[in-house]
């Protein structure tokens, strides 16, 4: 089964290079996404039939290991070629250094063999996220890319390449979460970095190239950390199993792996790359830069989190996470570009997850996994709806979404559900926040408690003003035609339904998915939240959910007379115009509040990067110096 999971997407990726017909390609994508999802489901069913035990495979590997070595070298050559082509030095150095290091270790140090592939609950969860969300994003992409190239005539149409990368990426992600051997994980890790780099550069504008190289070197820095961790483990302990890293719990390899996790999930001081990545077409933002690839970083951190409890590495990781949570949410306030807000919010939410993983106790990891599930679904939905809105309105500026609910109601509802899912009471994010806050208090981490208190407030501000913008009822200036394709809606509706189901079935998700993961990671059997507590919470939350619906029907019974809004008595006919001081008709324009001078990136970015880098450097100095 496992070769199939990785192999099918890779095979499809090759097919897109051969099939050049647009229609045929569309059908192959639909079929391919279906097959990937189906394979995953069959795989999971078989695993559960087997008693949901941990599976371990590939104790000894022959050919595959050599293929991977070759793959590492090819990736390095590709990076060097691209860097020379665009005159960059840093990626060459980083890539050459880490590849050389890994190859050297592989061929010189004697390593005890262990299972290379492991399947447990966390892997299964990641597989579901990759297959379902990834699969539907692929379906969405077919329609989106058509609209994208209608809208951006100046960009060269390289769709076959784009789809190849999309499916190759799915394969690499499956490989990443299924692997247990560090060298294997490293191989897939590098593939995702390179694919992200290639996708960011899709439009080949100067900005895109600049941003893609920024993403590349930051991710390669993380890769270097990964390589160093491999080398340290191999030389000192003769093993490259991830479980041994956790079991032995030596600080320096842990910190190096954590560095890789931080870069991948775009935590401060490395968050710049994710913002730059927003130049890429929206499906890659949805898939790579919010739903799955950045989750690889937190996935790794969650894997090693049992070893982080109460030690220096844990403190460093959790402080960086908490700090990122609050700073990114403050910077999000000053953004009016929809995708930028989503990027900042992704960074900020990942910060919270990283903070939870860094504390490394059962409650926090429980909350982290929950946050990860909810964030994947609602953020991918938000990215898709912003992308579709951009194709329809020709802009992704939040200001232009004024009254979207009148102009393109379907997209506005989807976006609204996504936004509500990120912070409002009926949705599961709040329960995870509740558990996280409790766990932070229990673990005695004062700074994180403050971070979550202030960070929730700033998070609320930027989401609320976006939601309010969507829900403005007014007569549109000009009507727009909804150019969103059917397949895009299929994917978005799937996400919306999934979001609502997750909210309704929250206790079941906890029992069937999250509790087993926590149990496996920590090896004991107490549940973080008792069933009764969870159920009462869920019922409470659902009651909130029903209120507006009921009120909708009640308020419809009342008859009211519609009148124009108050504009100091200088309305001109309808709600759109007023009389200005020259006695002329002037268009009313309402803008959101961005607090640019207080929370702008200009003011906060550099200080926060410096501070986060200082924490990281200090951490490395202390750990290398042997403080524990």
């Amino acid at each position: 089964m496992i070769p199939l999971l990785i192999g099918i997407p890779v095979l499809l990726a090759v097919m897109f290079q051969v099939v050049r017909n647009e229609k045929a390609r569309g059908y192959i994508v639909y079929a391919g996404a279906g097959i990937v999802m189906l394979t995953t489901i069959v795989f999971i069913v078989r695993w559960i039939q087997d008693g949901a035990r941990t599976w371990e495979f590939y104790i000894s590997t022959g050919l595959i290991a050599h293929l991977m070595t070759a793959g590492d070298i090819i990736l390095m050559c590709l990076i060097i070629y691209m860097s020379i082509k665009y005159g960059k030095v840093l990626p060459i150095l980083l890539s050459a250094a880490q590849t050389a290091l890994v190859l050297y270790i592989e061929f010189t140090v004697e390593i005890t063999e262990g299972p290379h592939i492991m399947v447990d609950w966390l892997t299964i969860l990641m597989c579901i996220i990759i297959a379902c969300i990834g699969g539907f994003i692929c379906i969405y992409t077919v329609g989106y890319m058509k609209g994208y190239h209608n809208h951006h005539k100046e960009v060269k149409d390289r769709q076959p390449f784009f789809f190849s990368m999309l499916f190759l990426f799915l394969g690499a992600m499956f490989g990443l979460v299924l692997s247990q051997n560090l060298i294997w994980i490293y191989f897939f890790w590098e593939i995702t970095s390179v694919i992200s780099f290639l996708m960011i550069g899709y439009t080949r504008t100067d900005e895109a190239i600049h941003n893609s190289f920024m993403a590349l070197w930051m991710n390669l820095l993380g890769g270097l950390g990964f390589a160093i961790a491999i080398a340290l483990m191999a030389v000192m302990h003769g093993t490259v199993q991830l479980s041994d890293v956790v079991g032995i719990g030596e600080l320096l390899p842990l910190l190096c792996l954590a560095l890789a996790g931080l870069t991948k999930s775009a935590q401060l001081p490395f968050s710049t790359w994710l913002l730059g990545a927003m130049v890429a077409p929206t499906p890659s933002s949805a898939l790579l830069h919010s739903a799955t690839m950045v989750k690889a970083g937190v996935y790794l951190l969650i894997r090693i989190s049992p070893a982080l409890e109460g030690n220096l590495v844990g403190i460093i990781i959790s402080s960086i996470g908490g700090f990122t949570f609050i700073m990114a949410s403050m910077m999000a306030i000053a953004q009016n570009d929809g995708k930028k807000v989503l990027a900042f919010s992704t960074i900020s939410n990942l910060g919270l997850i990283v903070g939870c993983a860094g504390i490394g106790v059962e409650e926090t990891v429980w909350a982290a996994i929950f946050l990860m599930i909810f964030h994947s679904v609602s953020k991918s939905m938000l990215f898709q709806s912003v992308g579709a809105t951009e194709n329809t309105l020709g802009s992704r500026d939040i200001e232009d979404m004024h009254g979207l609910i009148i102009r393109v109601p379907k997209l506005a509802y989807i976006m609204g559900i996504g936004i509500a899912g990120m912070y409002l009471a009926p949705f599961g994010m709040l329960i995870s926040k509740w558990v996280a806050l409790k766990a932070f208090v229990d673990s005695g981490n004062f700074v994180l408690v403050l971070c979550i208190a202030y960070g929730s407030a700033t998070t609320m501000f930027y989401w609320t003003k976006w939601l309010a913008k969507l829900l403005c009822y007014h007569i549109p200036r000009e009507t727009v035609e909804d150019v969103t394709n059917k397949d895009e809606y299929v994917s978005m509706f799937f996400h919306a339904v999934l979001m609502l189901l997750l909210c309704l079935l929250l206790p079941l998700v906890a029992i069937w998915v999250v509790n087993p993961i926590v149990r496996e990671l920590f090896g004991n059997s107490t549940d973080v939240l008792s069933m009764s507590v969870l159920t009462t919470m869920a019922i409470m939350l659902i009651s909130i959910f029903i209120v507006p619906v009921v009120m909708f029907f009640i308020s419809r019974r009342s008859h009211s007379e519609l009148v124009p809004i108050y504009m100091n008595g200088i309305n001109e006919g309808d709600n759109r115009f007023f009389l200005n001081s020259y006695g002329e008709k002037e268009h009313l324009y309402l803008s959101n509040w961005y607090l640019r001078f207080e929370f702008g990136r200009r003011h906060l970015r550099v200080p926060s990067i410096i501070l986060a880098a200082a924490i990281l450097v200090l951490g490395f100095c202390l750990v290398i110096g042997g403080v524990s």
Binding site: H402, G403, L424, A425, P426, L430, W434, L437, K438, V441, G444, F446, V449, L450, I452, A453, Y454, S456, A457, T458, M460, F461, T464, K465, L467, A468, K469, L471, C472, Y473, H474, T536, M537, M540, S543, I544, V547, P548, V550, M551, F552, I554, S555, S558, H559, S560, E561, L562, V563, P564, I565, Y566, M567, N575, L588, L590, N592, W593, E598
Partner: protein
């Protein structure tokens, strides 16, 4: 049993009590300004008048959103008086507020939109402290549950005086009292008419007022939590202290002028950090 009575009492009596407090507030304010002031029952007359009016609105969703605001606030309050989880109460309270903001911004009116933006800013200002208050109760009594908090042997205020000061400071936002009545006010606003409620009239406005009364009682309920312990006289003490706090808020309303938003945000955040944060830090170190 007693919990059910409390919840029912809250749901039925809170609007009356809130309206009475409002009337009292107006009399006290008037006396401070050497006026005679309206009757104690003026808020009831006002509500009656509002309900009797013909329903005039600017769009079809405002009423729905305002009614949701009211009902969700009632749920939050009922949960508090039922002894449920304090943190959840606060989360639901902010969700309720979200509906008010949506109601105000749904009409594309310049003044109401400005009020809605300011309301968001106010939420951002007070939110950290309310979360810290919940954390404070958790640290002192070992539970987020109101039912456990009121049965503690010692009043929580002994351990969290800083948080009480902070909560009194930020409660002025929630009570819509000067100097923090940026989004809408009981007094005339020069620069933005009636802010948040500019476009609300008749029944819609009445519903918003009733919701505010529920919220007022909910907040006094949280103030009570600071003082109540397992003894009976602590309840009396709590109610007396609530009276004092009520008087102080009215006094503050009358002696201070409205501040700019920056002053509001920064002062609330600084007070949160100094009064609330230090208090929490001490509690955490002590544990």
């Amino acid at each position: 049993m007693i919990r059910i009575i409390l919840v029912l009492a809250y749901l039925l009596l809170a609007p009356f009590l809130g309206a009475l407090l409002d009337g009292l507030d107006r009399i006290i304010s008037a006396r401070m300004q050497r006026r005679r002031g309206p009757s104690l029952f003026q808020p009831f007359y006002d509500l009656g008048k509002l309900f009797s009016k013909e329903l005039i609105t600017v769009n079809n969703v405002q009423l729905l959103l305002n009614m949701s605001y009211l009902v969700i606030l009632m749920i939050a309050g009922a949960m508090l008086f039922a002894g449920a989880d304090l943190l959840m109460v606060l989360f639901i309270l902010s969700t309720a507020d979200m509906f008010l903001i949506m109601a105000a911004s749904s009409d594309s009116s310049p003044y109401a939109n400005m009020g809605a933006s300011r309301e968001m800013l106010q939420m951002m200002a007070y939110e950290p402290l309310t979360l810290l208050v919940a954390v404070g109760f958790y640290l002192t009594t070992g539970s987020f549950h109101v039912g456990d908090i009121i049965n503690a042997p010692v009043s929580a205020v002994v351990f969290m005086p800083g948080l009480l000061v902070g909560f009194m400071f930020t409660a002025a936002i929630k009570f819509r009292k000067s100097p923090f009545d940026l989004s809408t006010s009981h007094h005339a606003h020069q620069e933005m008419v009636k802010g948040l409620t500019t476009e609300m009239s008749g029944m819609t406005l009445a519903i918003m007022n009733i919701a505010e009364y529920y919220e007022k009682i909910l907040l006094f309920g949280i103030f009570c939590l600071f003082f109540v312990n397992s003894t009976w006289w602590s309840w009396v003490a709590a109610i007396v202290v609530c009276g004092v706090i009520f008087f102080m808020e009215t006094l503050w309303d009358n002696v201070s002028a409205r501040v700019k938003w920056k002053t509001l945000l920064y002062s609330c955040w600084v007070v949160t950090l100094v009064a609330g944060g230090v208090n929490i830090l001490i509690l955490m170190l002590d544990k």
